[in-house]
Amino acid sequence: MTTMAASADLARRATVNNYSNESRPVQILLISVALIFLSLVLLVPLFCVFTYAFEKGIDVYFRALSDTYTLSAIRLTLFTAAIAVPLNLIFGISAAWLIARFHFPGRQVLLTMIDLPLAVSPVIAGMIFVLLYGQRGLLHPIIEALGIQIIFAPAGIVLATTFVTLPFVARELVPVMLEQGSAEEEAALTMGASGWHTFFLITLPNIKWALLYGVILCNARAMGEFGAVSVVSGHIRGLTNTLPLHIEVLYNEYNFTAAFAVSSLLALLAIVTLVAKAVVEWKYSKGNS
């Protein structure tokens, strides 16, 4: 059935190509303009990161990466992602289950609220936690009584990062789960499977690729977040500098090679994210056809 529909679609597209597409010279002109634009805006900056990182040789590159402050920034970044990503993974599954499987009043509002962190400027995202937990914050008395520090400490960085990356898993899962519908799950339940059983054996295998991509995106953003983290961090070297903040410090000290060396780690992460997305999309389309 699906293959027939697909081949009909292909045939349709082939007719378009014959009938009404632009002449080849026009096509080549448009393609060139698009590719030049993409190169100038996207490709050149990406190349620049690696070129400048290795400009003074591989020794300088690795020395920049093995610097104590760089290593502590890597540790803090990994620590932050290790908390923020699993939390938002659980939230994403819960929210997607709720929105894609039930109809209830306020469902649309909830969907919009999940998107809120994307609509808020990163600086404002950091600011709200300063207003809550900072020196003159609303909840500061409670925090102080408990003897914990949030602002200018790793806890604040984790909080701000979790806020900023909150929507990513949920947004990938909701459309996929809506599209798949709940027929298979209902069948499993009718046949006597328990709720959790149904979830792990039916739902999870069905959404695994979307879930994986959501986690990858969430992780990339968690490790790369700059604005929100910058507000709550206090920039204490070796203690509250994540990788992006460390890059800022190095860059502002005119230590460009080191700044680009550290940047190359995050650029590599970005490339891995893009490749992973391509692979996941390919797997997903294969699984669907």
Partner: protein
């Protein structure tokens, strides 16, 4: 009525997922965001107005809105062109070009910021060429615009791609049979159906640009009255512990983004479907 609700909730886990989702959202998003409104409510309207309309703040609004608008227009044009080329034509490296579109989502803004600054500064790879024809990019409003073009591009491309893929070939064929030229087909047959999606992509890029901070601070120069954007001004006020000033400006920006969000939501309803993937 009761039975209808029961049949709709045949699946388990409604209470658990509702409870957890709402609790998590409240603790992490709603309560923290509400503190802005709480904080601003301690100001009288006069105070608020005074903070939110000083000449320096007004200059920052003009720059933030102006640069975001300009960048969104550039992205509207080039983003549409890129989406068109990716959907309709065949050429080498097409898959790579398609994957590259998401780079601004994946590359941390700080890395994009220092990289764009270095490339487009007066002794950078491209900046030195542009300098020779008298165009300065880094440390000018043009640089801010460039960073925002980088940040906003995927929003337009990813919004337009699925829409272009679903265009009915029959429409074009019919128009071609009746003797319309390519230009006529494009402007009179295709474009009228595309404008809600174009506007959605435009607004998404614009909204993202308004709040952007990381990629801009490096390339902007950050001089009050000329290259200082609103998020940076909020940051400066926070560093000076001027929380009242910072929250007042934050409220203005929040209201602007919420308005845009509403607009985008109603536009996607108009366009008939939500292209979820594009809005990351």
């Amino acid at each position: 009525m009761v039975t209808r609700i029961q049949t709709k909730r045949a699946l388990p886990g409604f209470g658990l997922s509702l409870g957890f989702t709402v609790l998590y959202l409240s603790l992490l998003v709603l309560i923290p965001l509400a503190t802005i409104f709480l904080k601003v409510s301690t100001l009288s309207f006069g105070e608020f107005w005074q903070i939110a309309t000083t000449p320096r703040v007004l200059a920052a609004y003009r720059l933030s809105f102006g640069a975001s608008l300009a960048a969104a227009f550039i992205n509207l044009f080039f983003g549409f062109l890129v989406a068109w080329v990716l959907v309709r034509y065949r050429f080498p490296c097409k898959r790579m070009a398609d994957a590259l579109i998401d780079l601004p989502f994946a590359l941390p803004t700080a890395v994009a910021g220092i990289s764009l600054t270095t490339v487009y500064s007066s002794n950078g790879w491209l900046g030195s060429w542009l300098e020779r024809v008298g165009v300065k990019v880094a440390y000018t409003p043009l640089g801010i615009c460039l960073a925002l073009v980088f940040i906003g591009l995927p929003f337009v491309v990813r919004t337009m791609q699925p829409v272009l893929e679903e265009l009915e070939p029959e429409l074009e064929e019919a128009a071609a049979c009746m003797g319309a030229g390519r230009g006529q087909i494009f402007f009179r047959v295709l474009l009228p159906g595309l404008w809600p999606s174009l506007l959605t992509g435009f607004s998404l890029a614009f909204a993202r640009g308004l709040g952007e901070y990381g990629s801009i601070v490096f390339i902007a120069g950050n001089l009050p009255f000329s290259t200082e954007i609103v998020p940076l001004l909020i940051m400066t006020k926070l560093d000076q512990f001027d929380y009242k000033g910072a929250t007042a400006l934050a409220l203005v920006m929040l209201l602007a983004s919420f308005t845009l969000m509403l607009l985008i939501n109603s536009l996607s309803h108009l366009a008939g479907k939500k292209s979820h993937r594009a809005e990351v």
